[in-house]
Each structure stands twice: as structure tokens, then as C-alpha cells.
């Protein structure tokens, strides 16, 4: 295991210490070492936007803490949901009295821990509403959409929720916007090499050379099928063909796109993939209004990429376009 770590069991704590040092201007510690918050949080008069999730996905989740983005994040072990207590403490760190929008991904652990945390929060008089991201198309058929995983589409959900709260939306408005965001978002991932959780010390699955996992999850959960590696242009077509009919997207739709690497794929290759993705979207009559390409939601040192497409209406486009400042996503407004 070729790693830049100290004790394999302590990677999350060590990482958080370094993260806080590097981003003092925008991120602050809280009383719970597994909860970080925006240095300005709680922002008075603003709905608190919170998420949480396992570690190993940098910039997700703590990298999206910032101005017009997330107010607080609960941090789990590598690939493990944060505890209920961490979620609860994140709610507290973000709460200015206007309520908390907890926007998280659909995983057994997160569902359970958020559920317990929300109950505890309400006992303490903090109002929490949730949106559960389920943008990963291959993880369940359309009829069972509520079973689907949340993947890189979460980044766009956070962007939208964070912007809506920043523009003064109340709790219901923030929840509605974030729910609309994820309802209009579809993703798919392909995996080319596995990854190794430091404390485990060996890859938790294998991908034979020359093969790829289609529909893989960003924890290395096996995909829905194994295929021969093919040229990037064929990968892109297959990914677009999986994503578009599912919503469905229609000719004339405006969209935002996000192509994320899973960690170790050179960013050069993400652009090679995006070249065909955009060509295929154009063929389908979609108009790309904003495109993100890079390592936005990773899976340690896995090779592979995810494609996310979000259908925009005027509200979503305004919210996606708002300026934002965080380690993982900083943009000027249009």
C-alpha cells in the first residue's frame, strides 16, 4: 500500500487537522472533532444547509463547506456514515433558528444515522427537513427509484440548496429547491481499478485488466455488469444513453453536466470523455449551460469516472450560477 498516511486507523482525524489548517479562512472546527462548519456559521437569518457522509470522497463532503454552500458537515470514517451524534452536532453548528436542510445521500448507514439525529434534534427544538439524493441510475430500476444511491449529483444538490438558502429561501423553499434539483438529476459511474481503504490494507474488489465495472458505486460497490474496456467515445455514449431516457431529458432541455473522476484517473481523460459526452448531448438536442469537469466526488484512488446531468429550469439555473466559495467548488457568478 503506497500511502501518505500515519496510522491507517487515524486517517480521518489526521486529514481533518490538515484540512482545518489549510482552509482557516472558510472552515472552522466545532466541539465535535467529527463536525466541521463554515467559518461564518450559523449565518444569522439563514437556513442551515448540512450534509454528512463517509470519508475518502474528497472534495466531498467537507470540501463543499463554504460561502453560499454548506454550513456544516458530519464526517464519517472512510466509506462509513457519520454517527447520529455527528449529524446532530452538525445540525447544531449550522442552526441560526431558521431550521436545517439536511441534504444527504441514500445509503443504509446515512439513512439510519440521520433518522436518529433528526429525532434527537427535534427533541431539542431544532427543525430539520431532509432531501435524500438518489441520482445513480444503474443502482435500481426506475420503479424503485427510492432505492437508488446518491452519487456525484449530490454536489449539484448542495450547490442548489446552498444557493437557495443564501438567497434567503426559508426551510421549505430550500428543501423544495434541493428536492427539485435531485429529481432532475441522473448519474452513472464506471470503474476501471479498485481502491484500498487504508485500515483494510488491500483492495476490496478486483477489476480484471481490460475490463470495467459499469454502474459502480463510489465506494467500490460492484457495478451492475462487467464489460470489456472500450474507447472513451463508446464509454461516453453508453453513459449518455443510460442517463437521458431515465428522466427523460428531451430535446430543447437546458442542462448542467458534471464529469467527475473517481480519484486516480488523470484529469486529461475526463476531458477526453467529456468531448464525446457533450457531442452526444448536443445530438439529443440538449443545451449545456454549465459543465463541471474534474475530481468533484472521488473514491480514494479508484480509476474511473461518473457522468451527472441535471435538467435546469430558470430557478435551478440561477442557483447553479450563483457565486460560491469552497475548497471543492469556487466560482464567480455570471
Amino acid at each position: 500500500m503506497q500511502r501518505i498516511i500515519n496510522e491507517p486507523g487515524e486517517v480521518v482525524g489526521d486529514m481533518l487537522k490538515g484540512f482545518l489548517k489549510a482552509h482557516r479562512e472558510i472552515v472552522a472546527a466545532t466541539g465535535n472533532p467529527r463536525v466541521l462548519k463554515y467559518s461564518g456559521a450559523p449565518v444569522s437569518g439563514k437556513v442551515g444547509v448540512v450534509t454528512g457522509g463517509g470519508s475518502g470522497h474528497k472534495p466531498a463532503f467537507v470540501g463543499y463547506i463554504g460561502r453560499n454552500m454548506l454550513d456544516a458537515v458530519a464526517v464519517g470514517e472512510v466509506f462509513s456514515s457519520p454517527s447520529a451524534k455527528a449529524f446532530l452536532d452538525a445540525f447544531k453548528a449550522a442552526d441560526s433558528g431558521k431550521g436545517i436542510a439536511c441534504l444527504y445521500g441514500n445509503y443504509a448507514g446515512d439513512n439510519l444515522n440521520v433518522k436518529m439525529a433528526v429525532e434527537l434534534a427535534e427533541e431539542q427544538g431544532i427543525r430539520v427537513k431532509t432531501v435524500v439524493a438518489n441520482d445513480d441510475v444503474p443502482s435500481a430500476p426506475p420503479a424503485e427509484r427510492s432505492k437508488r444511491r446518491g452519487v456525484a449529483g449530490e454536489v449539484l444538490m448542495w450547490k442548489v440548496g446552498g444557493a437557495k438558502a443564501a438567497l434567503g429561501g426559508d426551510l421549505d423553499a430550500v428543501i423544495q429547491a434541493a428536492q427539485k434539483a435531485i429529481d432532475n438529476t441522473r448519474s452513472i459511474g464506471i470503474g476501471l481499478t479498485p481502491c484500498t481503504i487504508p485500515a483494510v490494507g488491500h483492495p476490496n474488489f478486483a477489476i480484471a485488466p481490460g475490463k470495467m465495472e459499469v454502474g459502480i458505486g463510489h465506494h467500490g460497490e460492484p457495478g451492475t455488469r462487467v464489460e470489456d474496456l472500450k474507447p472513451a467515445r463508446d464509454m461516453a455514449k453508453m453513459m449518455v444513453e443510460t442517463v437521458l431516457p431515465d428522466l427523460p431529458f428531451r430535446s430543447g432541455d437546458r442542462v448542467a453536466t458534471l464529469v467527475s473522476g473517481l480519484g486516480a484517473t488523470p484529469v486529461m481523460e475526463l476531458y477526453i470523455l467529456y468531448d464525446t459526452v457533450e457531442a452526444e448531448l448536443a445530438k439529443a438536442g440538449l443545451r449545456v449551460r454549465r459543465s463541471y469537469v474534474g475530481n468533484y466526488f472521488t473514491s480514494l484512488e479508484m480509476m474511473g469516472a461518473t457522468l451527472t446531468v441535471m435538467k435546469l429550469d430558470d430557478e435551478l439555473e440561477t442557483l447553479i450560477d450563483l457565486d460560491a466559495q469552497s475548497m471543492g467548488l469556487t466560482q464567480f457568478g455570471r
Binding site: 470514517e77 454517527s83 444515522n113 436518529m116 444511491r149 481503504i197 485500515a199 483494510v200 467500490g220
Partner: protein, 217 residues
Amino acid sequence: MESFASERGEPILGALVAAIQARSGELSDLDGALGDGDHGINMAKGFGMCLEQLSARSYGLSEAFSTLGGVLLDEIGGAMGPLYGTFFRGLARASKGRERIDAELFGSMLEQAIAGVAALGGAKAGDKTLLDTLEPALAAYRRALSEGKPFSEALGELAFAAERGRDSTREMAAKVGRASRLGERSRGSVDAGAASACVILCALAASMRTLLEEEAT
């Protein structure tokens, strides 16, 4: 009637933690086959933290379970944090203030613990989860008692049924949790949670039988 003193938390917790730590790699590998491979390390971490918190003093069984449940809920997270947190807090609550643990009491401890897990997770037997270990094990335990078998023998039945329950998940298709997205591909491998539940029940059964024997002599 067989029973042991509930103040003997140390040998039981010690054996439980040792069993989980010894099987940690195996549990992560099982989770890696269908999930994300973290099950064993997080279990080992949580159980180890609990032992550390309680070290340097003596404690009863209820306190041991309550501390373990609290650590899992507050510090560990994952799916197993709340599930096993609820499980051990159930065991703790049902045994709180009781001086001796007998067969009947342990039965209702298990019942409360397992009911909490089922209510929280919303899974049922056949979904390929830890419940496929816990529920048949409890049923076998109850059956043994109703057949008039003594506590220690019923614990043997519990452990035996737990192993069969764990193995029964091999051929199931997962209905909840990460593995459920694999559909048919999830068959052929034992569920990680079912395996850890088996480790837990077997460790509890073994250490309790030792205590029963000790007190009998």
C-alpha cells in the same frame, strides 16, 4: 436454575471484543464482496474504543452493553453503528438493575435488542442482513427453553442456529443496504452483518457458558 452474577461484565465484554477483533479482516472481506469493505474495521474500532473507555475499573454487564451501544451510536456511524448501537442498548436496558442473569432474562434481553434493530432498519428475515442471524438464533433459544433445556444448553442452540442463520444468507439476494443494488449478483456470498452478528452471539454464548460453569463449581 442456572444463572450468573450480572456484575461479571468484564469477561463477557472482553471475550466479545476479542472475538470481533480477531474476525475483523474476514468481516471486511465479506463486506468488500458485496459492499464497501469497511464492516470489520469499523466494528473492531468501536468495540476497541468501548473497552478502552471502561478500562481501569470494573463494570457490570448492563453497563458494558450500554457503553458499547453508546460508543457505536456516537462515534462509529456506518450502518452498523445505529443497528448494533440499538442492539446493545436493548440488551443493556433489559438487564439494567438486575443482579443475576438467568435464561428467561437473557431471552427478553435478546428480544428487546432484536426488536429495536428490526424497527430501526425496517428489514425482515430473508433480506440478507444481520436479522437473518439474530431472529433464527433467538427462535432456537426460545425453543430450547420451552423444551425444558437448561440455560447453558439453550446458549449452545443459540450459537448453533446463529451459524446456520449466517450461512443461510449465502444464497439470498439482498433486499436492503448497499448490496441490494447488486440484485442477483449479491448471491453467493454471506452477508457481512449476518456474519458479525454470528460472531457476537457465539462469543456471548461461549463466555456466558463459562460463567455458568464457574458459578456451578
